[in-house]
Amino acid sequence: MTDSSRDWPLYEIFIRARAGLDHKHVGSLHATDAMMAIEHARDLYTRRQEGVSIWAVRSSDIVASDPADADALFEPARDKVYRHPTFYDIPEEVKTL
């Protein structure tokens, strides 16, 4: 094994397990191009029938929030429990909501 794959761009792989479900992030891999990313994802992540659909996204194209901003981004939501719709009375007849 050589290290040539280290020069290949990294792709994040998302797999949809069944029709109707959403794509879930399963991991990442190296590939030279988009088509190879799909093929590698098929070989790496669906060989035991884990999925029916694959998304591949260049890792460098993902914009992520900065962990250092966590206080500013997420802390303000903590004391706003009224945003959870727990104050409604649900009629008995309503089975699924």
Partner: protein
């Protein structure tokens, strides 16, 4: 051995020896992703070989199993196409060999899905889906390498010229082929040539690769006359079973 049985054995051995060759890459491929890619193709081919060998053993009717056929036959009893026993060479040469055989197997299995032999039709219906993926994989790499750098282009062009002479055998009919074609069990080999040429021609021109001229060929692996390479493949593949008969894990 009937022509029918010999024909099935030819298909089985071609998949088996190619599976063994691809297995040699495990742990040596250019990237771990390719390690898995090549191993997956190898396992598909091994699965095809197992179904075909079991069927050949039944047709033979001498009480031999798929393992007996895989591990206890001598070199001259193997009937694979000479192309698949050729050494892996570099990654480019492996891809060229794979591409040439994938395109042929796809034509073959598409035909065999309609075979009058229901067992072969059933095996082909499963194999054709696998083979479509194999061709997508090998054609993808051929374009990347052929249309890649100066070095990669030169290497795959060189591999193409080296392996091209072995493709003649795939389309040359002998007595066994005539018999199975007449019975509607298998295609006339030459009838697969136009479809194969069209498939590979499209990819080769997109890879800036030149189709080598057709040359006479002197190999008849499907009749048991092999190049010098098959003996080494068999020595490795069969040594464990011969040293420890019936070993399992």
């Amino acid at each position: 051995m009937t022509p029918h049985c010999r024909y099935v054995l030819r298909l089985a051995d071609t998949s088996l020896i190619l599976a063994q060759r691809l297995g040699e890459w495990i742990g040596h491929a250019p990237a771990i992703e390719e390690d898995l890619g090549l191993a997956n193709v190898s396992l598909d081919l091994l699965g095809q070989a197992r179904m075909l060998l079991s069927y050949a053993a039944e047709l033979e009717g001498r009480g031999r199993s798929e393992d007996d056929l895989a591990y206890l036959r001598e070199e001259s009893e193997f009937l694979n196409a000479t192309l698949v026993e050729q050494p892996n060479g570099d990654f480019g040469q492996t891809i060229v060999r794979q591409f040439l055989i994938d395109a042929w197997q796809l034509e073959l299995y598409e035909w065999l899905q309609e075979s009058k032999d229901p067992r072969l039709a059933e095996i082909a219906a499963k194999a054709v889906k696998e083979t479509r993926y194999h061709l997508r994989y090998s054609a993808g790499w051929l374009v990347r390498l052929g249309d890649g750098t100066e070095v990669s282009h030169a290497r795959v062009q060189d591999a193409l010229e080296r392996l091209w002479p072995f493709t003649g055998e795939l389309f040359a009919a002998d007595a066994v082929d005539h018999e199975v074609a007449q019975a509607g069990i298998g295609p006339a080999p030459e009838s697969l040539l136009p479809g194969w040429s069209a498939r590979i021609g499209a990819v080769l021109s997109g890879s800036r690769l030149a189709v080598p001229p057709t040359t006479p060929f002197g190999w008849h692996g499907k009749r048991g006359q092999h190049s010098e390479h098959l003996g080494h493949v068999l020595a490795e593949m069969q040594s464990l079973h011969r040293a420890h008969p019936g070993a399992i894990w």
